[in-house]
């Protein structure tokens, strides 16, 4: 059997997860409440995950860096209230990041700015495999702008499901809802996204 790059990556991640046994990470999380070095280690372990999630929500590096900063300051202030294991910590981190992104997008002005920034980054993305670069970048942008046009709760479930590749049960844990609710939200979110994309396509010259 030939392993794909994605499968290889997942296997590697699993090995890394095993190497960093839960017990060690649980201890690290506890120590991070009062120990700067432990907190720094925890931060370094999770920075990339949080930053990528913010990029996938905001489509703009500057905004993603700002919100990532906000996330880790929130973590630092509230880590002593976290009572769980390392897996729960990852979910807790996603929850904080989701709230921080949604707070960032709360104002209409900020949202418009984010859409504008996404448009400015038009041309920076990579192409799909089967169409011309220009066409695919345009499509990429259209999807991002349509996503930003959705309510944050819909954008959140789409991002977690399709960009973070999470299962419904994981998304439910992060958002503190049951999986059936998430399934319904996801269906609605996809339907609304499709409508947004169709409306945008109609407006095209």
């Amino acid at each position: 059997m030939v392993m794909t790059a994605d499968a290889n990556r997942k296997l590697l991640m699993r090995r890394v997860d095993l190497a960093n046994s839960e017990t060690d990470q649980d201890i690290l999380i506890k120590r991070a409440c009062s120990d700067r070095a432990a907190f720094a280690l925890l931060y370094r372990m999770h920075y990339e995950r949080v930053f990528r999630y913010c990029c996938r929500r905001l489509f703009n590096r500057d905004a993603a860096e700002d919100v990532t900063s906000e996330v880790f300051f929130r973590v630092m202030r509230t880590i002593s209230t976290f009572d769980g294991n390392s897996n729960g910590f990852r979910n807790w981190l996603y929850r904080i990041a989701t709230n921080a992104v949604n707070d960032h997008l709360k104002t209409a002005k900020r949202r418009a700015e984010t859409i504008r920034n996404a448009a400015q980054e038009y041309g920076c993305g990579h192409a799909f495999a089967t169409e011309s670069d220009k066409e695919l970048k345009k499509k990429n942008l259209a999807v991002k702008q349509a996503l930003l046009g959705l309510k944050p709760k819909y954008q959140t479930v789409i991002t977690l499901r399709f960009f973070e590749k999470m299962k419904l049960i994981e998304i439910a844990e992060i958002l503190g809802q049951n999986p059936a609710t998430i399934r319904t939200q996801l269906a609605r979110a996809l339907s609304k996204l499709q409508k947004e994309l169709r409306a945008a396509a109609r407006l095209e010259p």
Binding site: F39, T68, S69, L190
Partner: protein
């Protein structure tokens, strides 16, 4: 419907992102977090972005240093039961005082607090410890005998040494001179209230002019004054003993956007000072970050070094304005514009800050200084970048290529006409 669903899912799976993390941002954020770690842990409202962008903290600390010298707050007259003349006499006779101060400020809507613990002793000098939460940000000493001002930065394990001139050595910590600085101010009586069970009587002044007393710090004070559109100072004195109990200072910028509130309290007048407090000022493993030399400042070399660094990191352009506040802001902007890919040299930034501070001193001293950073670049070798008056007929000029020359008033007029 299913086709549609599959189609949209395919579209989403094809979306790509520019999401490779920037190591510079990661490192910078880590530093910010760790610097604020103790404050956050101790339950203080951790004030992010403040330490890194700490011009407000610096200004606030400078304000407290001034406040430390407010002990000579002068009262011209009054009809209350407190004998203000007696307050003045008592304070002027004090040999040593300890106090604590809390500085609350906001920047970009984010509140933060710095605490100061200060010791002023005629015999030893002045020591100020500035904390955010439990984190020691900075410890500064002014040593009377060595005529030096030392700023110790534990986070970097470095220190800055400022050589005091005879003039500012005398000014530093001398309450009589500070009293004179406040003599011109008007005040209104605030009546009585209680502070921690002590009956106090207060006065308020909106005419405070804190321009003296900080060693070599007129430029820094100027930075503070630029920040402050309005200053309201209050002094509360124990009715029974005549000793000051609390001093507050509210500083609001011209737009009302940024505010600094300083409360100085916990005074211990004529306290017994342990000499060990001033011993081993510089820890053994600390490195000298920069030495500020009065001669270098006056010659203009300090300014030249700082401007040279700025032009290096800013494509040959000099700062648009020459004040501590402005150069710090501009360096921050350059750093941001270069997406964090610029390695900031703290020592060089300090050089520029002290140079800018000195330029502020020249303004305060009426030396007719002019700075043309918006018009003159490193390529303009014959244009006047900075100039100030040395005496009646002579000016010191720093040209665009950072050459220093002393020229006559007539020659300066020609150069500036060109």
């Amino acid at each position: 419907m299913n086709d549609n669903k599959e189609n949209i899912e395919q579209v989403l799976e094809g979306v790509t992102f520019d999401e490779a993390p920037d190591r510079g941002h990661q490192d910078l954020l880590e530093q910010k977090l760790l610097l604020n770690f103790n404050a956050a842990r101790s339950g203080h409202n951790a004030k992010r972005r403040i330490i890194m962008n700490n011009k407000m903290a610096k200004l606030a600390a400078a304000a407290v240093i001034l406040i430390g010298l407010f002990v000579g707050f002068e009262i011209l007259s009054g009809t209350s039961s407190v004998s203000w003349a007696q307050v003045r006499q008592q304070v002027a006779a004090v040999k040593a005082v300890m106090y604590k101060a809390k500085i609350n400020a906001t920047e970009n809507g984010q509140p933060f607090q710095v605490q100061i613990e200060a010791i002023l002793a005629d015999e030893h000098g002045t020591r100020m410890d500035a904390y955010m939460g439990e984190q020691l940000l900075e410890r500064s000493f002014t040593l009377e005998d060595k005529k030096t001002h030392i700023i110790i930065m534990p986070a970097q394990k470095k220190y800055i040494e400022v050589e005091l001139t005879e003039e500012n050595r005398i000014e530093n910590g001398d309450p009589k001179l500070i009293v004179e600085a406040f003599l011109k101010g008007d005040y209104k009586e605030l009546g009585r209230r209680e502070i921690n069970g002590v009956t106090v009587e207060g006065i308020q002044s909106s005419d405070v002019s804190p321009t003296a007393g900080f060693p070599g710090g007129a430029g820094l004070i100027k930075g503070l004054k630029e920040l402050s559109g309005k200053v309201t100072a209050s002094l509360w004195v124990d009715v029974a003993t005549g000793w000051p109990v609390e001093i507050t200072l509210d500083i609001t910028d011209e737009n009302g956007g940024e505010q600094v509130t300083i409360v100085v309290s916990d005074f211990q007048w004529d306290a017994q000072i342990n000499p060990a407090t001033f011993a081993s000022v510089i820890p053994e493993d600390y490195e000298l970050m920069y030495k500020v030399n009065a001669e270098n400042l006056e010659e203009g070399n300090q300014l030249v070094e700082g401007l040279k660094y700025f032009a290096q990191i800013n494509d040959g352009k000099y700062p648009a304005k020459l004040s501590v506040r402005d150069v710090v802001v501009e360096i921050g902007d350059i750093y941001k514009a270069k997406s964090g890919n610029l390695q900031i040299d703290d020592a060089q930034v300090s050089t520029l800050k002290y140079g800018a501070q000195y330029f502020g001193t020249l303004q305060a001293e009426g030396k007719d200084p002019v700075y043309n950073g918006q018009k003159v670049t490193a390529a303009d070798s014959d244009k006047v970048l900075v100039r100030w008056k040395l005496d009646r007929d002579q000016y010191r000029v720093i040209f665009g290529d950072l050459r220093i020359e002393d020229v006559s008033t007539g020659r300066l007029a020609e150069l500036e006409a060109e």
